[in-house]
Symmetry: C2
Subunit: 703 residues, 2 copies
């Protein structure tokens, strides 16, 4: 039967983990470079590990507590019977596994990331290609680990329990970890980065990555924990959530376009496993793409990464067609036709993901008009560069909005809400490639710093710079992709929530003319703004502490500045670690309690409107903040390349202001909103049993 | 019959115009001061008039064109018959009258404003109270003119045509003018302000309002056209719209809570006139408040203004109770009870308006925590002060959200959607006081500049400063009030649109689970972001031109800097005028075509969701931008008062950056969003006949 097809995704997952291990080995056997490099890399590794240790300790307590909460919420499996028992062990177990899986994948990626940086720097002494390979393999470990763990988890859980509702628990586990990793990592990395820039660059005129700056190591640690572990767990979370949403819809909806699924159990069973199977196919395509990148001669590392994405896309489209055909063999003509429509919905999603990636690239690339205009605005001073970047960031919301709307409309016309869910799955199918390319960025960023500190000479640094710039482009594209994918995923989760909670059976669905529903939407629209505010404030507050600490070190020990004694890196890492954990508390409480509160007070329809409002406004904030941050960063780089007078001028100083403002926008608040949306959507579904206890889901206050 | 009660509002309107004329006379007979002051004031007056002349010329063409468009859209009066005729002269005429009324009120306010500034400055040589009185009467002319024109227009039109649908045309006229006046004025004022600051303050170290700065006069003109004419037309627009929305709902809904209105024509007739009658009462209350402010001895001008608001509120509550009682005399017991519930909905609205005003005051006041924290953030440099203000601005969205939600929920429970509409009416009932207080601000701001340029000495300048600071506080409160009132108003317009368009008769209302509806909401959420981006870019682009012009004047004629020759003020005014008109084109096209486009493509339910999305996200952007701008402004002032090192320090420079970024936030984009929302909501209602032609209102693309 259809479920047997899960063998595809299970095998793909296992191969993926195997390849991750193989790449890890390849990276580890490379030359780690000279003594200085090894020392610096050791500092970074120790810092990353000490952060992860503290973070995981706190997370374990959190996961443990939530495990018991989940255990005692009404189980969604057999609601009527379970209400009495309230022993929801299946979801609780799945939750624990999902959390653990996310933590393991994050650790694996981070572990290799901090080993790959110095080795990539050393490889840059041989050739660009050699440096590229080490960094790329290092990044691929994260990409493959994420996808492998996710697919194995989903396949096995579905095999054992036979219902996507259990996988919902798995997904919730992945998401709650992602929220911590993404926000925490984001706060950490920008606390260090902003702090290092404010004192080191502006007050003491130290260059970027100068080893005398006490926050340099923390900054490098931040790249790893924020961009490797954070982004990895974020995409892990979106990936699993998109699969779950599609599976849940396939398992529960009655009609897709005009086809009655209830009449054809084989069709339904096939549809339920289709997302998992296609993700398995996507993983195989990603693997092939990775090998093509390795064995093709690429002069331009940026182009090589992009080509990998294109190849993975094309290969995925072909193999997915093959597997769609195989899946149709069991179906009647009507079902087969539907499956082909689903296939095209998947392609639409993938295509729109790529378009979104490239529009975000356009708005942040230094050779395009927006970034150049922002750089030119720096001529008028600090304020004008801010206004310009702010405005272009908001403008950049329009093209991806059109992209999402077209993808949603077409995929809906093809296969109803299931089509929309499958478009999200399509966007995330090649996530192996996407995460690999993304994790490449921080590795080469670190490699550049280590090359500088290891005194490998200008040529090597230039090579590393070249790789770094490719990494930045890849990161911009990845972010656009991640936001788009998360957006479609949470829409799918919303439809699935509406299906499961019985809103679809209410006479008027989520009717905005109902005051309770309107209030839900209102709160939903405000939450991403509040969330962004809290994260930006968190960075600002922590960076101020970091600034004080750096100043203190320079003042108390003048030998740090002369280079005679090393700075106290541990202290700065400690500030970033503790600060990020402390500042996480309120945002994470909000993300879980607000949806539950809205549901209990105003009912499930209001909660659904809350989610819709949050998704829409969250999309605006995520795109705006990511893109204005990226554009400020590149405007500064463009000036540093010698344009408009280059480094050290007033124009450059204004551009640095833009970049610093953009730092928490693009690396803390912006990308964390994705995770917030997924967590809130999953919270709604997970705690539905609880919410339905209050006035049958109509809420305590009815209008 | 009930309509006879309109005599109250008509008389109140006439008295109001009479009082405005009387105050105008009082102001004009004051001493305009020494020759220098008269010269400067003359420059400002000429500049304002030349701007208004160009603006009104363009507006006349626009109004003329739209007049013909409205003439040929299907009339809402008797749709079935009119579709054939399409000669909608009643609405077109009302539209022309509304436009003309808004222009006249704006002109009157502006005319007195530019006369009052120099007289207020001169009066400051006598005493604070004398200066206060002149400025306050000058501002009251605008407040009273706005309310008078609006009430007379609404009363007469309803008397003649007997249907609120015609008043809808009047309201649309007021709104389309407001959009031009508010956005245009906002762009003008900040082009001049930012330009003047960037070159004058930062490059040449000229003090604020220095007459050698070529943009100083343009800056003062901007205060008048942006803050007097712009804010006045904005509140005129919200005021009329709130009345129309409530009247339209009263005329069309079948049920209020559980009372069937269709059974009781007297009750319906009474409900339809209630909003107008209560606004008449509010106007009388405002007039009494104005006299109390005049005749009570006030040591503190800020307190005097606030006290005026409190008195007006209390007086309104009392007289409104009296009139509610009179209105109930014709009604049966059930109807009378309903009217009392409506009365309490009005009070709830008013109370929440005041609460909103004061929370926005809290978030922007220099002696409160947010602004102090922002000022302290300036110690870490330009970037950190931006991050802090940005975050606090976003945080400040939360309290007014709660306020609006509570007002909406309670007023709905009291009297259904009509209750929500009446809460909006309640918020705006004392708009006479609000506009008067608001227009006080730019007059004293100008007075301060003229006192400086007229060399009236430090004591007088200090007195004027004192008044200026009271004006700033009043402005912050007004803005919070205006945003809240506009927000509830557009909700009421949304309900009325739903009622008129037949969405309420659709099986599922505005169901967000329908993809077309979701797409509408998506576009709606994005539009305020796009609109803000365009306005901020407009200011940034124009300010850059202004900067070039100022630099050119200083370079080509060094005698300007030495004070030997006057700068070319006309040229800078010309740049601001032309720039603001050019940059208006795209935002105004968006505000009218996007709602119509969404309606035609996806149908009326999608259009309603579009409006809801725009209202919610517009609220977030309006509050965030207004408050962060206000907080940056006051953080800078707090530092200039001698805190954290005071003027000329690096901290002060960073705070100036914050202030400059905040300028277009708080005075261009933020407050324009209100008008955008009203215009879009009214566009939906006005063009409903057109939209219903496409697939019966289901739209060309159905899902």
């Amino acid at each position: 039967m259809a479920v047997a097809f899960l063998i595809v995704s299970l095998i793909a997952g296992i191969i993926s983990i195997g390849m991750a291990m193989y790449f890890r080995m390849l990276v580890l056997k490379e030359d780690p470079g000279n003594e200085k490099m090894v020392t610096v890399a050791g500092y970074i590794e120790d810092g990353a590990k000490s952060y992860i240790k503290v973070q995981y300790k706190v997370l374990s307590i959190f996961v443990g507590a939530l495990f018991f909460v989940i255990l005692f919420i009404p189980s969604p499996l057999e609601p009527s019977e379970r209400f009495a028992v309230w022993f929801n062990w299946e979801q609780a177990l799945a939750y624990a596994i999902g959390s653990a899986g996310s933590m393991v994948a994050g650790y694996l990626g981070l572990y290799v990331g901090v080993k790959a940086n110095t080795r990539a720097a050393q490889a840059c002494t041989i050739s660009t290609k050699a440096g590229f390979d080490v960094a790329f393999f290092g990044g691929a470990v994260m990409g493959l680990a994420v996808v492998g763990v996710a697919l194995i988890g989903v396949s096995i859980l579905y095999w054992i329990f036979g219902t996507p509702l259990i996988i919902l628990g798995f997904s919730f586990g992945a998401s709650s970890i992602a929220l911590f990793m993404k926000c925490g990592g984001g706060i950490f990395t920008k606390t260090a980065d902003v702090g290092a820039d404010l004192v080191g660059k502006s007050e003491y005129n130290l260059p970027e990555d100068d080893p005398r700056n006490p926050a340099t190591i923390a900054d490098n640690v931040g790249d790893n924990v924020g961009d490797i572990a954070g982004m990895g767990s974020d995409l892990f979370d979106s990936y699993v959530a998109s699969i779950v949403a599609a599976m849940m819809l396939a398992a529960s909806i009655a009609l897709i376009t005009n086809i009655d699924i209830t009449l054809d159990p084989i069709l339904r069973a096939t549809l339920v496993v289709t997302p998992v199977v296609l993700c398995g196919v996507g993983l195989i395509a990603s693997l092939i793409g990775i090998f093509i990148i390795k064995y093709r001669k690429a002069e331009n590392p940026g182009k090589a990464l992009n080509n990998g994405t294109y190849y993975a896309t094309l290969i995925f489209a072909s193999i997915a067609a093959l597997f769609t055909w195989i899946l149709t063999l069991d179906l009647n003509e009507e079902g087969a036709l539907l499956l082909w429509r689903v296939y095209f919905a998947v392609l639409i999603g993938l295509a729109s993901g790529i378009v979104m990636g490239f529009t975000s690239d356009y708005f942040t690339r230094e050779d395009k008009k927006p970034t150049k205009n922002i750089a030119n605005a720096a001529k008028e001073g600090h304020a004008v560069v801010i206004l310009s970047g702010f405005a272009y960031g908001l403008l950049s919301v329009v093209p991806p909005t059109v992209g999402i709307i077209v993808a949603m409309a077409v995929s809906y016309l093809l296969a109803g809400v299931f089509g929309v869910a499958m478009a999200a799955v399509g966007m995330l199918a090649i996530v192996g490639t996407i995460v690999s390319n993304d994790a490449f960025g921080p590795i080469v960023d670190n490699a550049r710093a280590i090359a500088e500190q290891g005194e490998l000479g200008d040529d090597v640094i230039r090579t590393a710079d070249h790789l770094d710039s490719a990494g930045n482009t890849a990161k911009a594209i990845t972010k656009g992709f991640a936001i788009g994918a998360a957006n479609l995923t949470v829409f799918a989760l919303l439809f699935s929530f509406a299906e499961e909670s019985g809103i679809n059976d209410l006479p008027d669905g989520i009717n905005l003319l109902n005051i309770g529903v309107l209030i839900g939407a209102f709160i939903g629209v405000v939450v991403p703004a509040l969330f962004s505010a809290l994260l930006v404030l968190a960075v600002q507050r922590n960076a101020a502490k970091m600034v004080d600490e750096i100043r203190r070190q320079f003042e108390e020990n003048p030998k740090i500045l002369t280079g005679e004694e090393p700075a106290d890196f541990k202290k700065t890492i400690d500030i970033a670690t503790k600060g990020s954990l402390r500042e996480l508390i309120i945002p994470s409480i909000i993300s879980i309690t607000v949806p539950i509160g809205v549901g209990i007070l105003f009912g499930v329809a209001s909660l659904a409107a809350f989610l819709a409002g949050a998704i829409l406004s969250g999309f605006v904030f995520a795109v705006f903040m990511s893109n204005s941050g990226g554009a400020w960063d590149n405007a500064k780089k463009w000036i540093e390349d010698g344009n408009l007078g280059g480094k050290g001028t007033e124009v450059h100083k204004a551009a640095i202001t833009g970049d610093t403002v953009g730092d928490p926008f693009k690396d803390t608040a912006g990308p964390s909103i994705n995770t917030l949306l997924v967590v809130m959507s999953l919270t709604a579904s997970m705690f539905m049993g609880l919410i339905l206890l209050f006035n049958g889901g109509l809420g305590l206050i009815t209008f």
